[in-house]
């Protein structure tokens, strides 16, 4: 059997040798397409360049090598050193890893096919676009003013002005002296000229600068763009504004009583409103502190506080404490004169006059006894 097999193999080789066509010229080979992923590079980006060729002739074409070269966009991968033959009507693709080393613009790295047997070569310039325009971010909504401990809603819009899509877009707030929720926001893919919006709840503890870093991918390349937002404290034009009016100071035993009205002249509600006398006054019973509660805009409430003060004090601060909807505490102080028109009472040894009560109790007992005795003797 073995000689029979050897015969058949020898015949097949002979037929193949006879039937092999002569190599055709480069005129039959054409570059049918080229593509780049990502479609537009940024400087320093790495991309994948794919070139497709087709043999349009009637005969097989032998290709020795395929390579890419150029400046501005340079190949990182090795060239195809031994390609082989491409049959009639067949196509073949070549993939190169390239990197944009130059500036912006359209570059034309050269794709070269070398044919065997001195048949020459095919040179084809492949257009590659490089554009450095980053994604743009902007704050489209923020409060008029920031305040320590007050939560502010900040809306950030990310736009894609690039000619190609961006993927994996996310926004990450960075910085110190604030807390933020969420700690990062994911937008995902942004088509060319598309945009996405994210909202952050930011609570500053001190004046600072919050940086919203936009992170995205262009192909396999990660890029960032920063948006700085200065957090400067100021007065909110809408915030509650408690105003004390109609104040009446009355001296009482052991100190003073202040009766007045507190009104919310702001545009937001003042919650948990407390009225207390401040230093140098010392709050005393029965109204050390007066709890007003919630004061809506234009609401008014009476208050009453009692306190004692040294003889030399001519005015004392009346402190209004209140909170906003987020629970942040604020104070407003109004000075109230307790000038010479008042008659302060020197401090007596505190509490009820026990000796006086004892005397009255004894007197009551004695009188009760006397009255009882007088009727008993009648």
């Amino acid at each position: 059997m073995k000689p029979f097999y050897l015969l058949i193999i020898s015949l097949l080789c002979a037929v193949a040798a006879v039937a092999a066509p002569a190599s055709a010229g480069p005129a039959d080979i054409t570059v049918t397409s080229s593509s780049l992923d990502p479609t537009v590079l940024m400087k320093g980006d790495t991309g994948t360049l794919t070139v497709a060729i087709q043999n349009n002739g009637a005969e097989t074409v032998a290709i020795r090598s395929a390579r890419l070269y150029g400046s501005g966009v340079v190949p990182l991968s090795e060239s195809y050193a031994s390609v082989g033959e491409i049959g009639a009507g067949n196509s073949k693709t070549f993939t190169f890893t390239v990197r944009a080393d130059g500036g912006e613009g359209t570059f034309y790295p050269i794709f070269v096919l070398d044919f065997r047997d001195g048949a020459g070569s095919l040179r084809y310039p492949v257009p590659v676009q490089v554009e450095n325009t980053p994604l743009s971010a902007s704050v489209i909504e923020k409060p008029d003013a920031f305040a320590a401990g007050r939560t502010a809603d900040i809306t950030v819009r990310v736009g894609n002005p690039r000619p190609n899509a961006a993927s994996g877009v996310q926004v990450i707030p960075q910085g110190t002296n604030f807390t933020v929720t969420p700690t990062s926001a994911f937008i995902g893919a942004l088509a060319a000229d598309g945009s996405g919006t994210v909202v952050f709840n930011l609570t500053p503890t001190a004046e600072t600068t919050a940086t919203f870093q936009v992170v995205w991918r262009n192909g396999i390349n990660t890029h960032t763009a920063d948006l700085a937002l200065p957090i400067v404290f100021g007065e909110d034009k809408r915030q509650a504004d408690p105003v004390i009016t109609n104040v009446e100071v009355t001296p009482i035993a052991g100190g003073y009583r202040i009766v007045g009205d507190v009104m919310n002249a702001g545009l937001e509600s003042a919650r948990s409103v407390l009225v207390t006398p401040g230093a140098p006054a010392t709050p005393t019973d029965p109204f050390r502190v007066y709890v007003v509660g919630t004061l809506d805009p234009d609401d008014i409430s009476t208050f009453e506080v009692t306190f004692k003060a040294d003889a030399g004090v001519t005015e004392v601060p009346v402190v209004v404490e209140y909170r906003d909807d987020d629970g942040n505490r604020y104070t407003a102080t109004t000075l109230v004169g307790i000038d010479s028109a008042a008659a302060p009472l020197e401090e007596r040894d505190g509490g009820l006059p026990v000796a006086g009560i004892v005397v009255v109790a004894l007197v009551a007992l004695g009188i009760a006894g006397a009255i009882y005795y007088s009727w008993r003797r009648t």
Binding site: R348, P353, G356, I371
Partner: protein, 218 residues
């Protein structure tokens, strides 16, 4: 214990019954009213002295005059109070067809003021305690004088010691009322019930007024 002032205080029934045997005399009741007026004058002098402190320096010369007026006013007030009470009891007893002359009513009313002597002494002590704790700034205008005086009144009303003093005065008034019941019973020849009503209604109203004032409702 059956003679003198102790008898008035502890056994007024027997005392007035015995007094009915004699002619009405206003000497001792007047003496009691005088003593009460003098004791009241002490408190008045203390208060007037405090008010003088408010006055500006150029008006300080009027201080002694003010104090003198206060003392005289307090003494006259003692007599006036006696007479007013006497007339009130006389008029109320007329409702219950009481019989007896006005002089006798005034005499027994005056005896009934005896507990007020003790009440006045204790009241003067309380007044001293209250007023000595006050420091009054000097005023420079009549408006300030008026304002300080008003403030002073509010202080005296709200001071716990002043309220205790007020309670003590009510207690002594009740004691006096008890004596007056016996006094009117004999002076106006009333039943015990009518005498109690004659005294109880005006005194009760006065006590009610005092309590309301002390509570700060007025």
């Amino acid at each position: 214990m059956d003679t003198g002032f102790l008898r008035v205080l502890l056994n007024p029934g027997r005392f007035f019954e015995a007094r009915m045997q004699d002619e009405p005399s206003l000497k001792i009741p007047a003496l009691i009213a005088l003593v009460i007026g003098l004791i009241g004058a002490v408190s008045a002098a203390l208060a007037a002295n405090l008010i003088v402190g408010i006055l500006p320096a150029e008006m300080q010369a009027f201080g002694p005059i003010m104090v003198a007026f206060s003392v005289v006013g307090a003494v006259i007030g003692g007599f006036l109070t006696w007479i007013v009470y006497g007339f009130v009891f006389y008029l109320f007893s007329m409702v219950f067809k009481g019989q007896g002359d006005l002089k006798r009513t005034l005499e027994f009313t005056g005896y009934g003021f005896l507990p007020q002597v003790f009440g006045g002494i204790i009241g003067a002590v309380f007044s001293y305690q209250i007023l000595s704790g006050l420091t009054i700034p000097a005023a420079t205008s009549p408006e300030q004088i008026a304002e300080i005086s008003e403030n002073l009144a509010s202080i005296l009303v709200t001071d716990p010691l002043a309220q205790i003093a007020g309670l003590a005065s009510i207690l002594f008034l009740i004691w006096s009322a008890n004596i007056w019941i016996f006094g009117m019973k004999y002076a106006r020849n009333l039943s015990t019930r009518d005498a109690a009503l004659t005294v109880g209604i005006p005194v009760g109203l006065f006590i009610l007024y005092t309590l309301v004032t002390l509570a700060g409702w007025l």
